[in-house]
Every structure is written in C-alpha cells, then in structure tokens.
Symmetry: D2
Subunit: 369 residues, 4 copies
Amino acid sequence: MEKFYDVAVIGGGIIGSAIAYYLAKEKISIAVFDSGQISGKTTSAAAGMLGAHSECDDLEVFYPFARRSQQSYSILEQELKELTGIDIRRTPGGIYKLAFNETEKQELGPLCGLTTVEWQDSRYIRQTESAISNDIIGAAYIEDDVHVLPQAVSRGFSQGAQMYGAAVHEYTHVYDIQKNGIGYILKTQAGEFAVQQVIIASGVWSNSFFQQLGLENRIVPVKGECLSVWKDGISLQHTLFHEHCYIVPRNDGTLVIGATMVENDWSEQPTIGGIEQMISKAKTMLPSVGGMKVASFWAGLRPQTFDGRPFIGFHPEDNGILFAAGHFRNGILLAPATGQMMRDFVLQREVDEKWVEAFKIDRKNYCLV
Amino acid sequence: MEKFYDVAVIGGGIIGSAIAYYLAKEKISIAVFDSGQISGKTTSAAAGMLGAHSECDDLEVFYPFARRSQQSYSILEQELKELTGIDIRRTPGGIYKLAFNETEKQELGPLCGLTTVEWQDSRYIRQTESAISNDIIGAAYIEDDVHVLPQAVSRGFSQGAQMYGAAVHEYTHVYDIQKNGIGYILKTQAGEFAVQQVIIASGVWSNSFFQQLGLENRIVPVKGECLSVWKDGISLQHTLFHEHCYIVPRNDGTLVIGATMVENDWSEQPTIGGIEQMISKAKTMLPSVGGMKVASFWAGLRPQTFDGRPFIGFHPEDNGILFAAGHFRNGILLAPATGQMMRDFVLQREVDEKWVEAFKIDRKNYCLV
Amino acid sequence: MEKFYDVAVIGGGIIGSAIAYYLAKEKISIAVFDSGQISGKTTSAAAGMLGAHSECDDLEVFYPFARRSQQSYSILEQELKELTGIDIRRTPGGIYKLAFNETEKQELGPLCGLTTVEWQDSRYIRQTESAISNDIIGAAYIEDDVHVLPQAVSRGFSQGAQMYGAAVHEYTHVYDIQKNGIGYILKTQAGEFAVQQVIIASGVWSNSFFQQLGLENRIVPVKGECLSVWKDGISLQHTLFHEHCYIVPRNDGTLVIGATMVENDWSEQPTIGGIEQMISKAKTMLPSVGGMKVASFWAGLRPQTFDGRPFIGFHPEDNGILFAAGHFRNGILLAPATGQMMRDFVLQREVDEKWVEAFKIDRKNYCLV
Amino acid sequence: MEKFYDVAVIGGGIIGSAIAYYLAKEKISIAVFDSGQISGKTTSAAAGMLGAHSECDDLEVFYPFARRSQQSYSILEQELKELTGIDIRRTPGGIYKLAFNETEKQELGPLCGLTTVEWQDSRYIRQTESAISNDIIGAAYIEDDVHVLPQAVSRGFSQGAQMYGAAVHEYTHVYDIQKNGIGYILKTQAGEFAVQQVIIASGVWSNSFFQQLGLENRIVPVKGECLSVWKDGISLQHTLFHEHCYIVPRNDGTLVIGATMVENDWSEQPTIGGIEQMISKAKTMLPSVGGMKVASFWAGLRPQTFDGRPFIGFHPEDNGILFAAGHFRNGILLAPATGQMMRDFVLQREVDEKWVEAFKIDRKNYCLV
Ligand SMILES: Cc1cc2nc3c(=O)[nH]c(=O)nc-3n(C[C@H](O)[C@H](O)[C@H](O)COP(=O)(O)OP(=O)(O)OC[C@H]3O[C@@H](n4cnc5c(N)ncnc54)[C@H](O)[C@@H]3O)c2cc1C
Ligand SMILES: Cc1cc2nc3c(=O)[nH]c(=O)nc-3n(C[C@H](O)[C@H](O)[C@H](O)COP(=O)(O)OP(=O)(O)OC[C@H]3O[C@@H](n4cnc5c(N)ncnc54)[C@H](O)[C@@H]3O)c2cc1C
Ligand SMILES: Cc1cc2nc3c(=O)[nH]c(=O)nc-3n(C[C@H](O)[C@H](O)[C@H](O)COP(=O)(O)OP(=O)(O)OC[C@H]3O[C@@H](n4cnc5c(N)ncnc54)[C@H](O)[C@@H]3O)c2cc1C
Ligand SMILES: Cc1cc2nc3c(=O)[nH]c(=O)nc-3n(C[C@H](O)[C@H](O)[C@H](O)COP(=O)(O)OP(=O)(O)OC[C@H]3O[C@@H](n4cnc5c(N)ncnc54)[C@H](O)[C@@H]3O)c2cc1C
C-alpha cells in the first residue's frame, strides 16, 4: 500500500481541481489523480465564457446555481492571485447575443426580460463595436457573462490546493476502485492508494467508473473545434454569439472562435471540415475576421449527460463514492459552485435541496436541452 | 575588413543554396549570407512539386529548361544523401490534373499531346485512387512530375556546399553592396566582407538590390497559404491538381493542401479566409479530406516577375554582379538548373544561348503568364 | 453490441501496429484500439536505432531474435513504401560504441569478437568523423545497427494494416475485457466490441490488463528524456554511443540526443535536470554539439520487465488472450519479429520453441539486465 | 508615392510601439514599419523585469530616468486595458538579489543603501520562499522592481496606437531613407512612403541606418538564451537574481529562466550549450527547478551601445531624423519614458536637459558598463 489519503479525486480538470481546492482549504487530506497533465483535456479547450444567462430557461434551479458560481469568480480571482501568483484572466465586456432578423430578436425576448440583460439596437452597438456585421439588427447584451482563461483557473485551483497541502499525481491513470473495509483501494498505473472517499471528476471519461460501480449513467462526448486569430487593428470589447458560434476577445490580443458540436466523436483533434465551418460562421458576425492571421486551432470533448445537467452527488448506494462530471458546455462557469457543493457533501454541511435533487446521480426526469 | 571570399551569395533559400553547392563543388571560395535561418523563407513554404509540365505552353525555352532541372533531381538525390546524409524525399506518383467536365478536358488537350502525359478516364483512375471525387470525368496524368521536400533539398544543398568548403553566414542581413576597386564590399549587420563577385538570390526580397544597383526590375510577392492534414486510412498515391489547388501526398503520412494566390501581400502568415478557401477547394477533389485532422498551416511569398520567368544572369553593366531571383511558383523545380547555370556563368563556361536570352535581367518582351 | 472482429489489438504503438499489419496481410479481420493517437506514446519518443548488437550478451536466444527482426527491415522498407507511400527513413551508417580509455576498450572486447563488429582506432575513425572528441581511443563499429524513424514505421504499419482491411479506432480507451462465451467483450469509452481473440500491446500501460486478467506480471516505466539539434556545418555519418548516451544523425539534418534512464517515473515530459544531463554527456562525445541550435525536446516511457525481455505469448490459462508488451529499449528493433511471431501464434503456425520459452508470460528465470 | 504620414517609426518592437502610442495619442499622423511581425524580435525574448534598481550606480541621470519609466507602468496598465482590452500582466513581488557569502553581501551594500531596498537575511526570506537554496545568506529585496509580459506591453502599445489612428505596416522592411525636399522618402519592400520626420527604433538592427545617415554609432548584439518551466507545486513569489541569472515567476504558472550574455552573436536561436549553462545556474538558486518540466526555450539579441545607455535624440545634423535604439537589457523598463521623451522631441516640448545630454547620439564620454 503506497499512500493513504482521506479523499481521492479522480481527474485534474477544472472540476477535480476546484473540488481539491475547496477541500484542501478545509484541511482535508486530499489527492488528485490525473491520467496526464493537470487541465490538459477538455478544460484546456474551453473558451472560458461564464455564460450563466444561457441557462435562463431554468430560472428555478440551474440558473441560480450558475449565477452563484459566476459570482464566486470575483472573490476567486483575488484569492488565487494572492495564494498562487496565477492570474485567471477574468476579462470584462460581457456577451452580445446577436439578432440578424426579427425572428431572432423575438427568440431573445425571454432573455431580455431579465433585469441583467438589455436589448441594444444595431446603431447603438456599432458605436462601440464598429467592426460587427452591418446585417445585425441588434443584440441582447449580458454584461455579467464575462470570461476567464480556463487553464489558468484550473492551474490556479490545482496550485492553490497544493499550497493548502493537497497532493497532485499527474500521469497516474486510475483503472480500478475497489471496496476495502470502510474505505477503497485505487488501482493506478503507479501503484495502489488507500482512501476513505473517492470523488470521480473524470469529465467525459467517467463512464468506465459509472459502469464499474454498477450505474447506468452515461456521458456522451460532444466534440468542439476551435481556432484563434490575432486581432489586428480592430477593436472588439465584447464576446459575440450567434447560432452556437462565438468570438471571444482574450486579453492577450487574440480572438477565440468556436465551436462545432460533433456528437459521439471521441477524437481530440480538429478536422479541417470543422475548422472551415467555424471560419465561415465567424465571418457572418465579424466580416473582417477573414483577413486575420491564424494563431492556433484545437478541439475538446464536452461531457454531455442525458438532460444537459451535470451529475453532482453521492453514489445512490455507497456514501463513500461521489461524482462530479458531465458539465457539458458549462464546466468553467460551474466549477466554483461544484467545488463548494462537493466540499459541503464531504464535510456533511447543508446543501440546497433543490440542487441536490437536480444534479443527483439517480434522477429520472428527462429534460433534454 | 573581416573576411574575403571570391563569390558571395545573398540569400540562403533553395536558389542561393543550389548556387553555392554547384560552385563550392568546383572549389570556388564562396559564402552564403542569409538574414535569418537557411531555407527559412519561401522555400520552406513550398509544396515541392517538380511540375515541369505546367510550363508546357513554352516548349521552346522554358519547358526544356524545367525538364533539365527536373531530371537533375535523380542524380542529386543520391549525391546529397551520400555527401550530407540528408534525404530529399523524392516521392514518385506524379500528378493528376483533374477535369470535372468536357471544357476542362479540352483545356488539358495540349498537355495530353505530350508523350510524357496521358489522359486517363475517371473509371480507370478510380481503380487506384478510390477516394477521388465521383464528379471527375478524368485527368491528365503526368508521371514525371514527382515531388520532393523543399527544405530538405535546400538544407542538403547548403550542408553539401559546406562539406565542399563554402561558408554559411546565417542571421547576417546584407544591407548594401559597394563597389571597391575590382571587387565589392558587402555591408552586413555582422560587419563588412570583401568579395570579387556578388550573386543576388534573395527571392522576393531582391528588390532593394535591383534598386540600389540602378535597375528597374521588380519582383512582386504572390502569397500562398497552405495547410497539411493527417491522411488517415485512405490511400492517395498521386498529387491531385485542379484550379490552382493541389493535394500532395508526402511520404510521412500527411497531405499538403495549397495554395492561395494573393498578389502584393507581404505578410508571411496565413489568414483564416485563405485557409477556408483552400479547405473548400480540396474537398471538391477529395471529399473525405474534410474529415481529416489538421497537422499545420503556413504561408509563403512566391517571387513573381513581370513575365513569370526568373531573372538569371549578369547585371547589364557590371559583370561582377549576378542575379538569380524571381522563380515564382517553380523555384524548387528550377533550383538545380539555376545553380548549374550560375556556376557556368561564374566559371565562364558555355551556357545555352536561348536560356541566357530568356532569363537575362534586361529582357523586354513581356509575355505575361 | 457495436461491432465484431476476429482479433482486437489493444494499443496502436509500433508493437500493436506491427501485429495488425502482419495479421491483416493474412486477411484476418482485425481492429486496433488506442487511447489516443496512433504511435503517439513511447513509440514517438524513440531514437529508432536497430541496435541488435547491444543484446549480444545473449547469443542463444535474444540476439538471434533481434537480428531476425533487424533483417526484416530491409524488405519492410520497400513493402511499406509501395503500399502506403510512407518512407520509414532507414538510414545507413551504423553505430560507433566509443572507448575513452583502455578499460572501456576491454569492455567492448566481447562485442568486437562478433564477425559483424570491428574495432577501429581513433585515428582511423577521425578520418571520416573529424568532429568526434579527441579523447576517444577508438570504437567498436557496428555497421548493421542502422536506424529508422519510429513514428514513420509505426504509421506505415498502421496505414498498411488499413490498406489490408484492418480497422483502427483512435481515441478509444479500452477499460475492460470480459469473457463472453467463446469470445470477449471489449469495453471502451466508445462502446462495446465483440471479438474472438484479444492481443494486449499497450506498452508500459499494460499493467491494468495483467491485473484484470489475474496475472502477476508487471511492467515498470523507465523514462527517457531526449532533445534534438540542428547539425550545422559539421558532418556526422554514424551514431555515437557512450555510457547510455547516444547521438543519432537523422536524415533530415538534425541530431537526436538521448536518453536518460529514470525508473518508475510515469511523467511523459522532460525535466530540465534531465535535459542538462544529456547535453553534458553529448558534449563529451561531440564537443561542437554545444554550439548547435535546439530543435526540440521530449520524453517517453520505456516498458521494462523483470528480466529486460518482452512478454510475447499466450495468457497461461486462456488461449484467447495474448500479450506483446514490455519491449523496453528495443521495441523499434523488435517490432517486425514480434508482429510475425504474434501472427504465427494466432494462425497456429510453428514458432521457434526457444523464443516461445524465452518470452512467455509465465517464465520464471530471472535474468536481470 | 503610395502614402503620406507626418512621422514614420522604423521598428515595431516595444520602443517603436511606445513612441507610436504616445504620438498617436497627441493626434500626430504616424505609421510604424516593421520587417516582420510587431514585437516579434528582441522584445518577445525579454523577461520583462522592470529592474530600475540595477542601474543605481548612476543616481544622477539614468536611475531617475529608469524610475520615471517604471512608475509610468501603473497608469499604463489601466490605460491599455481600457483602450485595447490587453492586459500587460504587471505582476507584483519584486526582486531578490541573492548573496551566497559575505563578499556578495558587501557588493549589495550600495544597493541596500537606497530607501526602496531592504536587506533580508536567509531565515526571514525562507519564511515565504521555502524553495530557495539553503546556501544563501540573504538578499537585497527590491519591492518596486516588478515585472510585466513584454509582448503584451508591446502589442498593447501597438493596438493602442492604432485605436488613436496610427497605421501599422507589418512585413514591410525599410531599406533606405532618402532626403526629399523638407521631408523624406522611405523605401520599403512594399513601396515608397513620404514622411516629414523619421524615427529609427530598429533595435539591434539600427546599424544600417546609422551608417546610411553618416553616423559612426554602432550597436552590438548581446545574445540572451532563455527557457521556461512549469512551476509545479512549489511557491515562488519573487524574482530571484544572482550572477546575471534570474528566475521570474510569471502569472501563468511558469518560471522564466534567463539569460546568457553572448556578445556579437547575431543568431536568434539558443544553442544547447547556452541552455545547459542557464539550467545549472538556476539550480544554484532554486534547487528543485531541476525537476521541473520544460515549457519552452528561445533567444533574443540585446542592443548594446558603447556605454550601455540608449541612443535617444536627434540626428546631430538633421532635425528630421530621430533615433531611439540601443536599450540593451532595459528596453522593457525604459519603453514608456523613451516614448514620452520622443513625443516631447517631436512636439518640441521641453525635455529634461540631463537626459537629452546623457542619451544624445553624438555623446562622447565613454562610461562603459
Ligand atoms: C470547445 C469547447 C468550448 C467550451 N467553452 C466553455 C465555456 O466557454 N464556458 C464553460 O463554462 N464551459 C465551456 N466548455 C465546457 C468545459 O470545458 C467543460 O465542461 C469542463 O472543462 C469539464 O471539466 P472536467 O474537469 O469535468 O473535465 P476535463 O477537463 O476533461 O478533466 C477530466 C480529467 O480527468 C482525467 N481522467 C480521465 N479519466 C481518468 C482516470 N481514469 N484516471 C485519472 N484521471 C482521469 C483526464 O485526464 C482529465 O484531465 C467548453 C468545452 C469545449 C470542448
Ligand atoms: C505556397 C507555395 C507553394 C509553392 N510550391 C512550389 C512547388 O510545388 N514547386 C516549385 O517548384 N516551387 C513552388 N513554390 C515556389 C518556390 O517556393 C520558390 O520559387 C522558391 O522557394 C524561391 O526560392 P528562393 O531561394 O529564391 O527564395 P527564398 O526561399 O525566399 O530565399 C531567399 C532568401 O534570401 C534571404 N534574404 C533576403 N534578403 C536578404 C538580404 N538583404 N541579406 C541576406 N539575406 C537575404 C531570405 O532570408 C531568404 O532566406 C511555392 C511557393 C509557395 C509560396
Ligand atoms: C527515449 C527512448 C528512446 C528509445 N530508443 C529506442 C531505440 O533507439 N531503438 C529501439 O528499438 N527502441 C527504443 N526505445 C524503446 C521503444 O520506444 C519501445 O520499446 C516501443 O516504442 C514500445 O512500443 P509499444 O507499442 O509497446 O508501446 P507504445 O508506443 O507506448 O504504444 C502503446 C499504446 O497503447 C495505448 N494504450 C495504452 N493503454 C491502452 C488502453 N487501455 N486502451 C487502448 N490503448 C491503450 C497507448 O495509447 C499507446 O499508443 C526507446 C524508448 C525511449 C523512451
Ligand atoms: C533574453 C533577454 C532578456 C531581457 N530581459 C529584459 C528585462 O527583463 N527587462 C528589460 O527592461 N529589458 C530586457 N531585455 C532587453 C529588451 O528586450 C530590449 O532592450 C528591448 O526589447 C529592445 O526593444 P526594441 O524595440 O528596441 O527592439 P526590438 O524588439 O528588436 O524591435 C526592433 C524592431 O525593428 C524591426 N526592424 C529592424 N530593422 C528594420 C527595418 N530596416 N525596417 C523595418 N523594421 C525593422 C525589427 O523587425 C524589430 O521588430 C532583455 C533582452 C533579452 C534578449
């Protein structure tokens, strides 16, 4: 038996790292295991929008959860900078959801009903964003949906957790979890580890654990392909969004353009067909983008569940096992709230009942997104 | 005065390196100067097709020159491998110039008239190349127009030249050439060099020398944007060519897709608009290419002259100055013949009069391509 | 049940790809599964020396096996080029095992006893290799131990297998193998597959399968860190070797410098301490290397068994399961012979009894290297 | 004649970009010309320390200039973020100049005499920086010498200038400046431009202009080689400095290690000998750095003048020509003050006489650093 920890987290993406951070802060003896490099998978592919308002069709449960998480980011920014020296690159500006015609404007109606969202017409928008397409008639403006640099957040969580005493085992694939008295043995390529509780935060790769642990839950990959360009000369202060395509202005002088939705494709590399599609969509929003220089391209797998909501909670029959996986297109947004919720589960603190029900592993109410 | 050489070559792309190779082999004391890394500019961007037959509209002069150069490659391959250990990756297969309709077939008529070219119909082609578009009606097949890896050829020439005693000064920008008695002083960022003869092989950047040396000649950049993908599973034995777009199967498992033609653009980076265009053209030839994974992308500047032919020859009024620049889309193909021709000029050997006339600096007959 | 194959190979490194190639050639219905990209792991990190003579301390069994494999490479080179268009970059020159003093010379004695090895003294060597250190007194010269480009071989095998009908599933991690009647079910992240026979070729990551299948066998990673440089100006025709460090002259103008031996380190990234060590060793062999420009750096994990010999053979109690893993520092060398041996096992052809015994899974005779 | 501008800046590194920014802000019609990409040369290689205190041996002139520039950075940070969206990554922490013995401590004496510098002993330092070498006896702590991300500053200046109306011509090498009536013609590869005033800010490549314009001034390159690593687990809040080697903790989770001093080497690529040297020095300051993973490596050329001070001022005989070049190891630090000073020269505002004298082109008092 190599080592002993109270809690093991399997997966060092943004979700696993957030959990480790919030638990280590409470002086829990915790270790993170990742098959490869910390934040090297889906997390490193994300655009980093904190798009809480995209979930406003569920004002009862999911939206408040998302907003709570979004709000945590302002404290977090300071906390991580002081503790680890890492800047998570929280960048103001917010999102413009563009409308090119009346139908699209009407579709944005419910969104614009929220007090935090404002309809702005084309002329007004083009005063600050003169590079936007002439064809828009206006946009829903969401000031609060700012963005961060996902890898920086995840590395910040992970280094912060280590400052608080957590262990991080990179390149340590866990292939089996075995019950052992009141605890568990993790079988990894680097040996065995004994722990009291296990948290599975393996993103789209969590299926093998659901299955080994006797659960029917499944996560389906939805591949997203992206590219980035050098924003030369033009100004762009806001994220642009239209028909699943977005342009995010990073604070290093690049624009991130994303992302395709390819269901059930496990390959983590972009195809040129996907790239072509993104370029053509981006040009409809920001015509001058076609003349900008490529900086890079990549792909990642969004972990999708049957109802578009993450699995966050206990194994239905085993209190020693918890899950936090399936954050689909919102894992960056939801990482702080997920980390806090898992901390409260482990420390047996109170957790909002609505959220417990909404995200529990054995929920049945299909509400497909 | 730092150093003395008989001959200085300004530019270490494939043209300058070829010249250095053929002269060093004759024991001429020679030095190559390059602003940056050897073969780091246009040469490194080329696809490497030895497309002599693309120039068959000029069967009198240019085509024979191109064929001579193409044929030199078989000896060269062996020579450079033995001398330097570098493999230039000469890859058989040749080119299919595709026709999608009768008009295009007719346009290929003159080409197919050559004994080295053969018309093949769709059905026949698809026996070996099953991945080609169903929409082609056939193609002109040119077996001899194989391809090489341009950087490998250029590095091979350069290392070979060094084995024979040449000096190679990387990161040594030449900014002035001054007459000094019977020779010249090269002013470079790394000091001055005295030489007897100067050869300008600075590709698209040769204009400053034309001007400094009192000549009206101009070279215009025609930017070409490319990308490469991993050829997964499918077989492709031949280069495909249609409407300025080609797909070249490299012998490392990638396909090179090129290239746009953007006149007067000096930027050496691809725009995403250019990349989009290439992807969409490539899909018409090889539909499955859209599903292949991006390997990389890049751009380079073809050095275009007023009539599409290179400038190879003496300064009209100064025998100490020679030029070898402006090889447009054929510099890889033409490098051996250009190197040999320059060697013969310097050594005062005989050179085919037709070629001397066709490529001389002060020619006037505009025959635009 | 998604798909059915006769044989499944788990792992698409050079070993798995070689096996797939030789079986697909015999028209066996076969599929390769890899967690990531084909040849993306240890195989892509190797130097590619076909160093059969390094194993000459075992002239009875291992050396002949290694030599057989080495000899297969000459046919293979042609075969793969014709079938797939891929050039495996077999580069002549062979290896110099350097001696800096009499003791080292004596240690090379047994090696020099072989008819294929020749002692050469310093003066003689420096006629062709003038850049080698003045401090050597001579070297054992092994002409046959040439090198290839590992990724090219592995991609060649894989594409070749596909040409012969094999399926290749990239990004498809296999996490469980379950007995199912006379066959097996592979559980993968991309669903389940039914097969008749399973071959485990997962390199250093094979441990989880040994364990799941009830075996005690273990593979330990021995991390190797490397870098490559641009060979500028100097000539180097042979691989240099001394005290676990080597310099391999690739045929693209670079030199590969490797490799550290870090036992039990699962991280696939080089540390700067490891890089420092390699640079300092390389300088003792080739002093001018210190002035060469870095091209890249990387690391990989050699799969080491208890006795330094690979596991190649049947599961002791289950004829449907075979293993081919643990090729340590010789997987490139041994890939062809391993692929052929596995083919013969599956097709129930005769296999040399000595080799069966030497590499079988449940061998006991510890003969540590 | 293609275009007309009031002022042309030759060079788009941090110095040229700063000048363009401060002038464009004053509504001057200005254009920047760069041979390649903006900030692609020396600027992109810098560590970004604002090390004003390293120049405290000249408390009269250079130190106050450096401090003024350093202080400008706090306003600049806000200004550029608002205007361009770019974050210059100003990171607090400051510098520890380490002493390993009493002699070194004494050498730090004068520095510690400044009110902004504080001697701290080993025990105290190790309370916050536990990873530092046990062998130090203490360090001079300079809180104000924080660091920024050089490329971000330079891109920020450049984009900011464009927001204020400046033109930026990338990939536009200027090869000649010709007097033309009361103005000048710039000859560039992309055509000619007519301007009223010319500012040369071409870093280490300014020599050709000094010479063309009849001046004896010379700039010598001092190559610096660097690498960066992933700071895993350990905390490092301050820059460490000892014997020309430093370790800078970036706010993205990496450490920058630099830099060699190779005089008169124009190559912009690191050699492995240089890399080896940096690793070995870094280990003396931070022993655990040897176990960290390489992120990247690079090199750049510091522009050194005869006395270590930049040339900032008018051509002695031509008021239409100004120079701002030769910032050696302080160009990042000095960019704001240089930009402001050039603005004041162009607008004929008052400039501190001491600075005018100290940095003027035709100064004679050699005070070698
Ligand atoms: C193109 C794209 C754009 C996106 N944009 C946004 C956005 O703007 N905003 C937003 O909120 N979200 C966005 N997302 C979604 C977000 O990226 C994900 O929801 C989030 O990263 C999921 O984090 P994770 O930690 O669950 O998964 P991951 O980051 O994939 O981490 C899981 C980790 O588990 C490890 N692992 C797996 N199996 C094992 C094992 N057996 N043993 C040990 N380790 C294991 C993996 O190596 C991996 O590091 C985007 C996603 C994509 C693909
Ligand atoms: C996308 C693309 C595809 C192509 N495909 C093909 C093909 O398939 N077949 C084919 O035959 N051709 C092809 N070409 C054309 C071919 O690449 C060029 O004709 C050829 O590379 C020109 O070589 P060069 O040596 O003249 O120029 P370069 O390679 O540009 O070399 C010129 C060198 O001069 C140096 N230099 C410039 N100024 C100075 C100075 N003042 N002092 C010192 N050094 C200086 C530069 O640094 C450079 O290294 C292609 C080109 C492109 C862009
Ligand atoms: C620095 C270095 C230098 C070397 N130099 C040489 C040399 O000069 N000559 C020589 O002969 N050898 C050399 N070697 C050794 C050689 O690289 C290895 O022996 C060989 O690559 C092993 O091949 P493999 O296919 O077994 O492993 P790998 O290449 O590691 O392939 C195993 C594959 O299995 C996949 N996999 C793992 N688990 C699963 C799963 N559960 N489901 C699906 N797929 C899975 C992995 O993704 C991987 O692609 C060197 C090695 C190193 C590190
Ligand atoms: C390893 C290293 C570490 C350093 N660390 C620090 C540090 O911590 N703090 C600090 O203050 N400084 C540091 N420096 C110094 C600092 O980087 C330089 O002083 C500064 O970048 C100089 O800026 P520049 O704009 O003058 O030069 P550059 O950045 O080189 O810009 C000059 C530009 O001119 C262009 N150009 C040249 N010729 C022409 C032409 N004919 N036509 C058009 N364009 C042309 C070039 O393309 C280039 O982009 C460091 C330097 C190095 C190498």
